[in-house]
C-alpha cells in the first residue's frame, strides 16, 4: 500500500524558502501570485494491505520522526 504524507509549516512559522521563491516569481512578472509556502511530500510504500493499519503506521512515523510537531503539521493520504 502506498501513502503520502504532506508536511507543512504551521501558519505562524516563518517560511524563508517560500518567501524567496514567492519573491522571485513575482519579480519574474507573475503578478497574480499572492502567497506561496513550501512543504514536504513523502511517499511511503508499506508491506501492509489493511488501510487502517497502514494509516496508523504512518501516523506513528510522523510523530516519531518525520514531523517536528512544534513547527510543522501534516496530513496523510492514500495514493
Amino acid at each position: 500500500m502506498k501513502l503520502a504524507v504532506i508536511i507543512t509549516l504551521k501558519k505562524d512559522v516563518l517560511d524563508p524558502q517560500g518567501k524567496v521563491i514567492e519573491q522571485t516569481l513575482q519579480n519574474m512578472g507573475i503578478n497574480s501570485l499572492k502567497n506561496l509556502r513550501q512543504g514536504k511530500y513523502i511517499e511511503i510504500e508499506l508491506d501492509e494491505l489493511d488501510e487502517k493499519k497502514a494509516h496508523s503506521t504512518v501516523e506513528n512515523m510522523c510523530k516519531k520522526l518525520l514531523v517536528n510537531l512544534i513547527i510543522e503539521e501534516y496530513k496523510i493520504k492514500k495514493i
Binding site: 524563508p16 516519531k64 520522526l65 512544534i70
Partner: protein, 225 residues
C-alpha cells in the same frame, strides 16, 4: 575537567572541537552515537557538521539516537551541554532547547567570520567574557535562522538566556548585520537552567591566532573555571 564529544555519522567538526578541548586542558573522550554509555563528564559537546547529511531536517535523525537519551539524562542532572552549529540543531530537535532553526533567509550556505556581542555573561559558558564584549567567530551553516514564538522570545530576553547576538564591528545590532535572518539577531540561546547552550558560530575555530583569532577561548575557559 572531563569532556565528551558525541560523534554522529556525518559529524565533521568533532575532531576540531576535540582539538580545542585538549588544547585547553580538558580531558576529552569521543563517544560514538551507537554507544549506550556516556563516560563521566562535566561537559558534553555536540559538534557541528551534517549529521545524517542534514536529511529530513537538520539534526532530526541524530536527535533520535540512543546516546541522546543519555545526553538528556545528563542534562537533566545538571551536566553542561554545548551544541555548536549542527549540535545546536540537534538540541533543538531533542527539545532540550526551544524554537526552530530555519533555512538562512538568502537560501544559501553562509560561511564567514561574524561579529557577536556578548549580551549576557552570567552563565557558565560566558563568564570569562565581559558583558557587551564584541567577539569575532566563524559561522558556516545552511540553517541558522533562529525562530521562536513571541512568548518564548520574551522569556529568552527577560531571563538573560541569550548569550550572543550578531552585530557589527562597533557592536550595533540590526538587520544589516544579521547574516541569516535570525529573530532579534540571536546567535545562541540557553535553556532556563542555563546548563545547555546552543549556538551557530564555531568557537572551536577561533583558538589560534595563526589560523584565525583567539576569541573562542573565552568560552572554553569559562567552562573550565
Amino acid at each position: 575537567m572531563n569532556s565528551t564529544v558525541i560523534v554522529f555519522p556525518g559529524s565533521n567538526c568533532d575532531r576540531d572541537v576535540a582539538t580545542a578541548l585538549t588544547k585547553l586542558q580538558f580531558k576529552n573522550k569521543m563517544v560514538w552515537h551507537k554507544d549506550n554509555n556516556l563516560p563521566k563528564s562535566d561537559l558534553i559537546v555536540i559538534p557541528g557538521g551534517f549529521s545524517y547529511g542534514d536529511y529530513l531536517r537538520s539534526g532530526a535523525i541524530a536527535a533520535k539516537s540512543n546516546i541522546l537519551k543519555e545526553v538528556i539524562r545528563a542534562a537533566n542532572s545538571g551536566c553542561l551541554i554545548l551544541g555548536i552549529c549542527n549540535g545546536f540543531q540537534i538540541l533543538i530537535e531533542t527539545g532540550l532547547l526551544q524554537g526552530a532553526l530555519l533555512r538562512n533567509r538568502n537560501l544559501k550556505f553562509i560561511s564567514k567570520d561574524v561579529y557577536l556581542k556578548v549580551i549576557n555573561n552570567d552563565n557558565k559558558f560566558c563568564k570569562n567574557y565581559k558583558k557587551n564584549n564584541i567577539i569575532n567567530l566563524n559561522i558556516a551553516h545552511n540553517e541558522g535562522n533562529y525562530f521562536t514564538q513571541k512568548d518564548h522570545l520574551k522569556e529568552l530576553e527577560d531571563n538573560a538566556l541569550i548569550p550572543f547576538k550578531y552585530c557589527d564591528k562597533e557592536g550595533s545590532i540590526n538587520d544589516n548585520n544579521n547574516p541569516n535572518g535570525s529573530i532579534n539577531n540571536i546567535a545562541g540561546i540557553l535553556n532556563n537552567k542555563k546548563n545547555i547552550l546552543g549556538m551557530m558560530p564555531h568557537p572551536e575555530r577561533m583558538i589560534d591566532s595563526l589560523i584565525s583569532n583567539t576569541d573562542g577561548i573565552g568560552l572554553f575557559n569559562s567552562i573550565l573555571n
